[in-house]
């Protein structure tokens, strides 16, 4: 690990100032991803600004929904009565990720900023446009079993590793951030993370020094019919091959609102809007679930080693919808 200056931030304003004025500085909260990347030499900050003492740990009702602090721990968020009762999809998604130890360390803001687990990104001996822009992508012609089937570019085929983010995309959350000018801005969740395009080094649309302060969950009518399904190589403590956040609002035997988001398939949490359109106004039947799954995967562009994700994705969507409606 390269030497770095360690700074304790007293408040959000000074934390943002400290990072904004040093291009080599980064915030550190739980550190469970950042320290690992620093040990690997993937991240080499010259200064870490510790934000864990900032007062951003609230989880509270706000405007009909719930506001969750950027520095609340993943464990505390998943187990908070407001989240368990009104956003069980988020509870499930958080608990599908990592291990108990890591969820105890990880903060909500940090979860959104965790970096891809693409093995070529992690290995500093390999070409990677995300780690070192312009060097190429070793994954494209490499072992790309875990990589993207949606929205990839010829520069990067990495996927976003977060489970929590998949649920937040389905729930239409909003990310509040604070910039160097002291002003707050709100970013709709589906605009928070980026597709790789020509700049895969940018995972999201934050400016350097901008600090996530909270994640706002709008009022939800999905609590009775939602499910987070994660498919992985082992039963627990592994990243998703494919995951599905499914949420339905049912009314009079018909689907009034539908949300489908997928993990493990794209550079950002992937909203399957085509599938959602298929479901709206229909009955919650196996046949309609299958039609939605087909629609979701229609635009998939698999790579050499991840063609299996198309069929797996379809089955995962159907199973998630079944479980969301109490049918399996």
């Amino acid at each position: 690990m390269r030497p770095f200056k360690f700074t304790q931030a007293a408040d959000a304003g000074s934390a943002v100032q400290a990072v904004s004025f040093n291009a080599g500085a980064k915030f550190i909260a739980g550190g469970s991803n950042l320290l690992d990347l620093m040990k690997e030499g993937v991240e080499n900050p010259t200064e870490l600004v510790d934000i864990t003492r900032l007062n951003l740990t609230q989880i509270k009702s706000a405007g009909g929904g719930v506001s969750i602090g950027a520095l609340a721990k993943n464990t505390d968020t998943a187990n908070h009565p407001l989240i368990r009762q009104d956003y069980p999809l988020l509870t499930q998604a958080i608990l599908a990720g990592a291990s108990a130890q890591i969820r105890n360390m990880a903060t909500n803001g940090g979860n959104l900023l965790q970096r891809t687990r693409c093995s070529y990104f992690y290995d500093v001996a390999m070409q990677c446009n995300k780690r070192e822009p312009g060097t190429g992508c070793a994954a494209i012609g490499g072992i790309n079993r875990n990589h993207a089937i949606f929205g990839a570019s010829d520069k990067c085929i990495a996927v976003n590793p977060s489970d929590m983010s998949v649920a937040l995309a389905a729930l239409d959350a909003v990310v509040k951030v604070r910039g160097a000018d002291g002003k707050e801005r709100s970013i709709p969740f589906t605009d928070f993370h980026r597709l790789p395009g020509d700049a895969p080094e940018k995972d999201n649309n934050l400016q350097h020094g901008e600090l996530i302060t909270s994640i706002e969950l709008p009022k939800s009518n999905f609590a009775s019919h939602s499910y987070y399904l994660k498919v992985r190589d082992r039963a627990s403590y592994a990243f998703a091959l494919v995951s599905v956040a499914a949420a339905l609002e049912l009314s009079g035997g018909k689907i009034k609102q539908a949300r489908i988001a997928m993990g493990g398939v794209a550079h950002k949490p992937w909203r399957a809007t085509e599938a959602e359109k298929v479901l709206i106004g229909k009955a919650a039947t196996e046949e309609n679930f299958k039609a939605a799954a087909d629609a979701a995967m229609k635009s998939a562009k698999p790579l050499e080693y991840n063609k299996f994700k198309i069929e797996l994705g379809k089955r995962a969507i159907v199973l998630a919808l079944r479980r969301a409606t109490g049918k399996a």
Binding site: D36, A100, I102, A235
Partner: protein
């Protein structure tokens, strides 16, 4: 210090300097094997080996001969005061130093193990302020005013924690390297179950619950952050089940042995 070409092993053993004796002691080479080792060393001579080791040690240390022990270079020093197993500690250390390294290298608490050092194995699990965490991915600099419990602080004096007793009874280890992490993790798991905390296997997270009775599948899910390369998992689950339920089981009874269900 160098030996002549024709020195025989037994003679060499008698001619060793204090440095050479110390080196062989450090290498754990005694008695018969020491003589054999010296015999095999033959013409190369132990002296050359000693010289090389001493040179490396000097290269690694600072050249201040006045100081008995000189720590390696500390860059960006930070001072941290925190509690470890009930005792107040104050350390000045490199900002890069993880809690795991501070425990092992600075406080002599080598119970917490460095398995992968990347947050993938759980061997370094400790409890901070009541929550199990990974010491290898925790900066000591972030531990100011926190209370850390390591495996050395789990028992009360000579009274073992119920999890420790159950691990011994059920032979819940083979090599033992993952055991301190497994035990710290299981101790915290018991509290999480008492708190009614959910897991990915919880059937309905909306249902309010008090203290939980965990199934074996739940124990496996909640312990998935602790890997055991010896594969002592069935015994680890049996030990945690016994401590968690309070119901004693016979570790030798066939009915307690698990058949792995690949569909889980």
């Amino acid at each position: 210090m160098a030996f002549e070409e024709n020195d025989v092993a037994l003679d060499a053993d008698q001619q060793m300097t204090a440095d050479e004796e110390a080196l062989l002691d450090e290498l754990g080479i005694f008695g018969e094997s020491r003589r054999k080792f010296l015999g095999q060393l033959g013409g190369v001579g132990l002296g050359a080996l000693v010289l090389q080791v001493l040179a490396e040690e000097k290269a690694l240390a600072f050249s201040d001969s006045e100081t008995a022990y000189v720590a390696p270079a500390v860059e960006n020093p930070v001072t941290v005061s925190f509690t470890v197993n009930g005792a107040k500690k104050s350390l000045e250390l490199d900002s890069r130093m993880t809690l795991l390294d501070a425990l092992r290298e600075r406080l002599g608490l080598t119970g917490s193990k460095k398995g992968c050092d990347h947050g993938q194995c759980g061997a370094c699990t400790v409890i901070i302020d009541g929550r199990r965490v990974l010491a290898c991915l925790t900066l000591t600099a972030q531990c100011e005013a926190k209370s850390v419990t390591t495996i050395e602080g789990i028992a009360k004096g000579t009274d073992l924690h119920a999890i420790q007793t159950a691990f011994i009874k059920h032979d819940a280890f083979q090599c033992g390297f993952c055991t301190p992490g497994q035990i710290c993790s299981a101790v915290a798991l018991m509290q999480e179950a008492k708190n009614g905390e959910a897991s990915y296997l919880t059937a309905n997270v909306r249902q309010k619950t008090g203290a939980l009775q965990l199934s074996d599948d739940e124990i496996r899910e909640r312990m998935s952050g602790n890997l055991c390369r010896c594969g002592a998992y069935p015994n680890i689950v049996a030990a945690i089940r016994e401590a968690h339920t309070g119901k004693a089981t016979d570790p030798m009874a066939i009915s307690q042995m698990e058949v792995h269900d690949a569909t889980v």
